[in-house]
Symmetry: C2
Subunit: 329 residues, 2 copies
């Protein structure tokens, strides 16, 4: 296992210490690194809290800050955070308007966030993200998985929270954005979880895993490596089928790297995905390209399409200041 | 070779097409993809032009926009752009105040930029970046290599150009920033140049290349994989020795991934590098962490330290709006 680490046991806390030091202008680390929170809270604003296993950086801590999350709870690599982390985060960032939990649909995350929601003594609601169209049910999941679309939900709902929308409105918006957002990914290589020390899965030098999950979970099928255009056709085609977009629809296109894929290739995938969208009469009017929802050093990418409308587009464009997404300020 | 591509021959143009489409609000592609330029130019502002082989994305095209470059010339992967690319870029973005070329110190880049400088019919100057302290002379280089520090030169000089500084002032500033900036990297794996199809170098499963170049050039020595703290001590120690910083000095710390290293590890390296800096009485007051000057999918990272002062810090902090760096707007 080749990694820039000192000790598997302290990997996460050392990384969080580096993160908090690098972004001390916007975030503070909670006690014992149980959560990352905004340094400055806004009185009367609904607090957005997300979290999940580490190894997907910059998700979620990289999205804490003005216009997105108020706190993120990092679990160990590919392991759910505990209910007490979420409880501590909620107590730290609730300013009286309640808490909205944004949870990716994995059994562990769902169970622990639900326990936290029952324990927390302020108003709270939960938005569940399940944007991955690759498979129904999977390792760690009942139903569809929550993947890169999560950042779109966090951005749009975060902007609405920042302008003062209430808890019920935000939950409704989050559910709507989740429904309007679909993703699918492909892996060319496996990642290696530090505590395991060996690759999560074996894959031939001429193979890819079509529909892979962000923990290296199996996708739809293992096939021979195909061209970027063929890959984009399957990923984007599956997404379009799920979203049932009309011709003329406008969308946000996120081409997301899993951690080991060069930006050179991701932009080529943008070009490939745009051709598929164009063929369906769908126009990408906003783009985000980079490694935002990763699987450690896995090579591969996912494509996410999110239908844009007059409600969501201004919220996507609204100012944001986090470690990983920043514009307008 | 596992890559998200259609054809090695069209890889670069397809990727540039995706890039230009994704960032059509700020950049335009020159004829035949010879350069990427700002869509809107500012009359009377010195134009900053950089470029180099592709495969280091987001460098340089990702740094074209307000507050940084006016144009970037992408060569084929790890291959210098041609003089006619630079000439065409200069003709496209010069608005009468002249052109400053920012060139990484590689023989091919140096020769081609020099030819362009002789051909171009406007005032022009060149800043050469050679921040890599690992080795004197190397494959492709006489003298020290230009690596991740290049982005710091481009950001600081770009901000000065934006506020209206003249050509001579900018050249002097660029030289000063280059001198105040030092970098060194380590590779855990090789990358594979698409046209070659096989890894650039062979490396054992328990080895690393200390002092590696951004094309996979040999560094100081091939050694057994060490802990993050030991790696940070050697990289940061070599940098501090080169910069001869006094105790109490304030610096900008860039921990740069080479393309295949997770952000989780990069932030751990931030933490490790800060410990070394702290031990030398040097304080990191600005941080940039991510894969900004890459070597395709190579695993590893570089550390860059740039001395900050009252001249350079406000320029670093000044608004920037490019594909890869954006703040203040």
């Amino acid at each position: 296992m080749k990694k820039l680490i000192n000790d598997v046991e302290t990997l996460l806390t050392e990384s969080l210490d580096g993160f908090a030091a690098a972004h001390s202008d916007i975030v503070t680390l909670g006690d014992e690194g149980r959560f990352v929170r905004r340094s400055e809270l806004k009185k009367g604003k609904v607090a957005l809290i997300s979290g999940g296993g580490s190894g997907h950086e910059p998700l979620h801590a990289g999205f804490v800050g003005h216009g997105m999350l108020d706190a993120a709870c990092p679990g160990q690599v590919f392991t759910s955070p505990t209910p007490d982390q979420m409880l501590a985060a909620a107590q730290a960032v609730d300013t009286g308007a309640g808490v909205l939990f944004i949870v990716k649909n994995y059994s562990g995350d769902m169970m622990n966030f639900q326990m936290a929601a029952e324990m927390v003594d302020c108003d709270n609601e939960t938005v569940i993200v399940n944007d991955d169209v690759a498979v129904e049910n999977s390792t760690y999941t009942t139903g569809r998985r929550g993947v890169a679309g999560t950042l779109i939900v966090e951005k749009i709902v975060g902007a609405a929270a920042e302008r003062g929308d209430g808890l019920a409105t935000l939950k409704k918006l989050g559910n709507a954005v989740n429904k309007a957002t679909a993703s699918m990914g492909v892996a060319l290589t496996s990642c290696t979880v530090p505590a395991a020390g060996t690759p999560t899965f074996q894959i031939g030098s001429d193979e890819m895993e079509m529909g892979v999950g962000i923990h290296g979970e199996p996708g739809r099928r293992r096939v021979k490596l195909a061209s970027a255009d063929d890959i984009a056709a399957e990923l984007t085609g599956s997404i379009l089928k799920d979203l049932s977009l009309r011709r003329g629809a406008e969308v946000l296109l996120l081409v997301n790297g899993f951690g080991g894929t060069p930006l050179l290739e991701l932009y080529l995938m943008v070009n490939a995905a745009r051709k598929v969208l164009g063929g369906a009469g769908v126009r990408a009017i906003r783009h985000l390209t980079g490694s935002y929802v990763t699987s450690l050093e896995m090579a591969g990418c996912s494509i996410t399409v999110s239908a844009a409308d007059d409600t969501t587009l201004p919220l996507w464009d609204a100012p944001v200041h986090t470690a990983a997404l920043r514009w307008g300020m």
